[in-house]
Amino acid sequence: MNETESGFERGIAEAGLSARLGPEQRQLLYAELKAAARRQRRKLGAPGTLQTTAVVHEAWLRLRNHAEFVDEAHFMASAALAMRYVIIDYIRAARAGKRAGQAGPNIEDFMLVEDARHAEVLAVHEALGDLAALKPRCVHVVECRYFGGYTDAETAEALAVDERTVRRDWLFARAWLRDRLDEMPRE
């Protein structure tokens, strides 16, 4: 858990958000998103995309009175990044549980990320490190779209770029990720 949180910290630094996000706010955001994700997942079967934004949204509602988060774009960019680590955290914990012979993640974490997607999601997370070296903005677009579940419009707002740019970056990032994922050994 600590490992992942520090991963989140690292991500914050990579994304250039640290200056605008104090350590307390980071903790708060991370914790809220995680809790919100659990709550949302415990609700009964809604389509995934709606669910994902609902998580971010619920976290926003809880954090909206913190002055540090009044900037909507700032919050959304940070939240997408935090979601990335919440999701990775969950997958790693779920896999560790399996290896340890548990029946599955406990009910609280029920189906945060579908089993069948664990490998893909982890692979995307790991590949992003290399993508950052090529084009950092593409990483943020992936965080917003893939981990945050934002629409193109929301992504554009979070990153303060226009929607066309988001679509262009996403096309490239997606191709790049697909290329990388297809190269990776299957589990």
Partner: protein, 848 residues
């Protein structure tokens, strides 16, 4: 390998990648080779990414938290492709076909055959696990709903796979929004439909069931035009558990129709449905969702619902006629339903329906309490016959029997509303004439008449009857029924004990106002004098007396005395409490100053009144309009261009709140016409003035002073346009009308003479003009000092006459002196006349 290109290389590859994507797939490789010619490493990399792009199976487009299995559906698979095949049995039902698929459930048309009957049902299969016991409880509750506006629950159960299902009446119809559109329903029909929906919801609320997911898709209108609600209580079934952490439900309902408390995970109540009704009503009536945002971002929508006050629905309309229909009642009703705080909304769907009903019936809507003029009309309209009884309650309370009022809590609101009316507010205006058809005015007069009849027959103690008679008198003053006001006030004074100053004073003031209104100045004045001499009056009363007396003197044309009276009122640094009265004082004062030609002071006075209005009673459209009109009137001759927009704004306010035939509207229209004339927009001005005269005749009778004033304005306009014959006819007509409605020495009677003299002079009838001017001056001399502007104009015209009659000596000097004595505005205004007159002496020629 170039697996890690340099930044420059990367930029080139990326550009090539995007450019290639714009081409047909077959041409892409050749394109890459041409742009990355001689760099096989880069080319290979670009090709790899292109291949990856072409191979992408869209799994990365799905967010990490989305499900891969049947993700587009969102329902948990159940039968082939997540649905039930035709013929499948569910309980006693047989699936016919799928009707609709939503986020959490799928609806099928199901059928059941029994001996001699065939029943159709909408069978809803819920794509979720749920607590079977809670489901059974809810089902029992839902089955109790039996209302023509609600699709009845007829069956329900749990499938072998553990899925819940519910069967309800199968309703064949169109969603309400589509229905309204396809049948092109007008606003009234839509409101009627909404009332039906609200009634059904109200019925459910009475059975302790909140819908939670009211939206157009859940309200079907059948071919006979009846609305029926689907899915009552289903939203609750879809919410897991009851503990607070899981109630934070953004998902169970449709965000666009959600209430803030649903988004924030707070308690769900009947008011949650009221909010949804408000959203629905807004969509059906204005055509737009009140929380619409650019794009369809869920986060933005929900945030708008939580944080943004809904705009008046009329402002959302693209259609101007529709916007007009919504402005007022409907805006107020919808906004009340859409308040953020549940307790600020209608207490129930029934109240919401009631207010819509009131609107349709032309009665007062509760959402508009707080607008003063509105409340007056509304209270009276609604309680036409209960009015006297209710006021008796107020008076009893005032007499120290407030315990009785407490017992009658149910009556209290009504009593308070009536008290508001009775508080004398009405004397300031005529809200009854709010509708141009005068329906409201008749309504108000009816109420007062009925009150008088019933009061005469009642056996109430004298002091109470005296107080009620005073209220009646104030009411009659408010609708300009001076004679009835005077007789009611006299009756009140006859009943009130000599020592009971508290009730005698308002009756006395009402009497004096009625007499002034009837222009019985000689009767009114001693009353004011007596009141002024009364040492027992408090400051507020003194101010009121001074202002009332001043306005009487103003109406009587005794301007300097009026000014002195207005100045006797002394206001503390303003409190909002007497800001309205102080503004009235300042306005009347401005009028008096303006008529005396003291324009700068007049403008200052009326500007201050307007400032008070904007600061202390900005919500009072009528008072603001009055102050705007007054300011414009004082400004009119100095700066017509600046004055025009104030008139226009005032006129709009009056039309909106009072209707076109209200005296305020009529006056503002008249004055607006005068400004248009000054701005050389003669055609518009003349048409407006003629219409205005007709309105005045209809309202006050052909012999009234109001008509005479308007006729005089028309005469002046015609003279300005050099249509002298028409001008003289109009001026004579104005003179006749004013002669029959004003005392002989009233200064207003001089104005048609002045105009007439101008026309006579211009047409060469100088001798006639001289006579006319002498008569004008003898009238003005009574009301005004020699240096008042109208008198200066008279003496200037007199000099013109002498010059025109050939006196190029002393008269010419007098003419120049008169010109010099005028203020700048008037000099400009009469410049042409002066020049024409003096030109005769420079170059004598026979008059035209």
């Amino acid at each position: 390998m170039t697996d890690r290109p340099t930044p420059e290389q990367f930029i080139r590859i990326e550009a090539a990648f995007h450019d290639a994507l714009d081409l047909p797939a077959a041409q892409r490789d050749a394109f890459l080779e041409s742009v990355l010619d001689g760099e096989p490493g880069l080319c290979a990399l670009a090709r790899r990414w292109l291949r990856a792009h072409e191979n992408e199976n869209a799994s990365l487009d799905r967010p990490a938290l989305a499900r891969t299995t049947d993700a587009a559906d969102g329902s948990i698979p159940c039968g082939s492709k997540g649905g039930l095949d035709a013929g499948t049995s569910v309980g006693v039902w047989r699936i016919v076909r799928r009707l609709a698929r939503g986020g959490m459930s799928t609806v099928y048309l199901a059928q059941r055959d029994g001996p001699g009957f065939r029943q159709l049902a909408a069978l809803k299969l819920i794509a979720a696990d749920a607590d079977a016991r809670r489901f059974a409880d809810e089902r029992r509750l839902l089955a109790g709903l039996d209302h023509p506006g609600i699709a009845r629950l007829i069956d329900g159960g749990i499938t072998d796979e553990g899925r819940l299902w519910l069967a309800t009446d199968y309703v064949e119809g169109e969603p309400i929004d589509r229905y309204c559109h396809s049948h092109q329903l007008d606003i009234r029909a839509r409101v009627a439909l909404l009332i039906e929906v609200a009634a059904a919801i109200s019925y459910a609320h009475a059975h302790l069931i909140v819908h939670r997911d009211i939206k157009p898709a859940n309200i079907l209108v059948t071919s006979d035009g009846r609305a029926r609600l689907l899915d009552f209580g289903i939203a609750k079934l879809l919410e897991p558990g009851t503990e607070s952490t899981t109630r934070t439900g953004t998902l169970a309902m449709t965000p666009q129709y959600a209430a803030p408390e649903q988004i924030l995970g707070q308690a769900i109540t009947a008011q949650t449905d009221v909010h949804a009704l408000g959203v629905l009503a807004c969509e059906l009536l204005s055509g737009c969702n009140p929380f619409a945002v650019d794009g369809d971002s869920l986060i933005k929508v929900t945030r708008a619902i939580v944080d943004r006050e809904a705009p008046p629905p009329s402002s959302l309309c693209t259609d101007a006629a529709r916007a007009r229909a919504l402005r007022g009642d409907l805006d107020a009703i919808l906004l009340k339903a859409l308040r953020k705080k549940p307790t600020d909304r209608y207490a129930s769907a029934a109240r919401f329906a009631e207010d819509l009903q009131n609107h349709l019936a032309g009665e007062a809507v509760s959402a508009r309490r707080g607008s003063r003029s509105y409340r007056l009309v509304s209270t009276l309209r609604r309680h036409r016959w209960a009015f006297i009884a209710a006021s008796a309650i107020v008076v009893l309370a005032a007499a120290g029997l407030s315990w009785r009022l407490q017992q009658l809590t149910a009556e209290r609101d009504r009593a308070n509303a009536v008290a508001g009316f009775l508080g004398g507010l009405i004397s300031d205006l005529d809200p009854g004439a709010r509708n141009s058809e005068d329906a409201g005015r008749l309504g108000l007069a009816d109420v007062l008449d009925a009150g008088r009849v019933r009061l005469a027959a009642s056996s109430l103690p004298d002091p109470l009857r005296a107080q009620l008679l005073t209220r009646l008198a104030e009411g009659y003053n408010g609708i300009v029924a001076w004679d009835k006001a005077a007789s009611s006030a006299r009756a009140a004074l006859a009943l009130a004990d000599e020592s009971d100053t508290a009730s005698r004073l308002p009756a006395t003031l009402a009497l004096a106002m009625a007499l002034s209104g009837a222009e019985r100045f000689a009767d009114a004045e001693p009353i004011y004098r007596q009141l002024e001499a009364n040492p027992d009056l408090d400051r507020a009363r003194r101010n009121q007396v001074a202002t009332d007396y001043g306005s009487m003197l103003l109406a009587a044309g005794r301007l300097p005395e009026a000014l002195a009276a207005f100045d006797r009122a002394q206001y503390d640094p303003v409190s909002s409490f007497d800001a309205v009265q102080q503004a009235a004082n300042l306005r009347f004062r401005a009028t008096a100053l303006s008529r005396l030609g003291r324009t700068d002071e007049a403008i200052a006075s009326s500007r201050k009144a307007l400032e008070l209005a904007n600061e202390y009673f900005a919500g009072d459209e009528i008072q603001r309009g009055i102050c705007e009109a007054n300011f414009a009137a004082t400004l009119r001759d100095r700066d017509p261009e600046q004055a025009a927009p104030y008139y226009q704004s005032a006129l709009q306010r009056f039309h909106r709140v009072l209707g076109a035939n209200h005296p305020n509207s009529i006056n503002a229209e008249n004055n607006y016409a005068l400004v248009l004339a000054r701005l050389q927009r003669f055609g518009e001005a003349e048409a407006l003035l003629r219409a205005n005269i007709a309105r005045r005749i209809e309202r006050s009778g052909a012999d009234s002073r109001e008509v005479g004033e308007a006729q005089q304005n028309l005469a002046a306009l015609l003279c300005d346009r050099q249509r002298y014959d028409a001008c003289m006819t109009a001026a004579r007509e104005a003179g006749r009308t004013l002669a029959s409605s004003l005392p002989e020495e009233h200064y207003l009677r001089a104005f048609p003479l002045l105009t007439l003299a101008g026309a006579q002079l211009a047409t060469g009838a100088a001798t006639d003009a001289r006579r006319t001017l002498d008569r004008a001056d003898s009238i003005l001399a009574v009301a005004m000092p020699a240096d008042a502007l109208p008198r200066k104009i008279v003496s200037a015209r007199q000099a013109m006459v002498e010059v025109a009659l050939g006196d190029c000596g002393a008269a010419l000097d007098r003419l120049e002196a008169a010109r010099g004595a005028l203020d700048e505005d008037s000099r400009k205004r009469y410049a042409a006349e002066f020049d024409r007159a003096s030109a005769r002496c420079v170059n004598p020629s026979p008059p035209p």
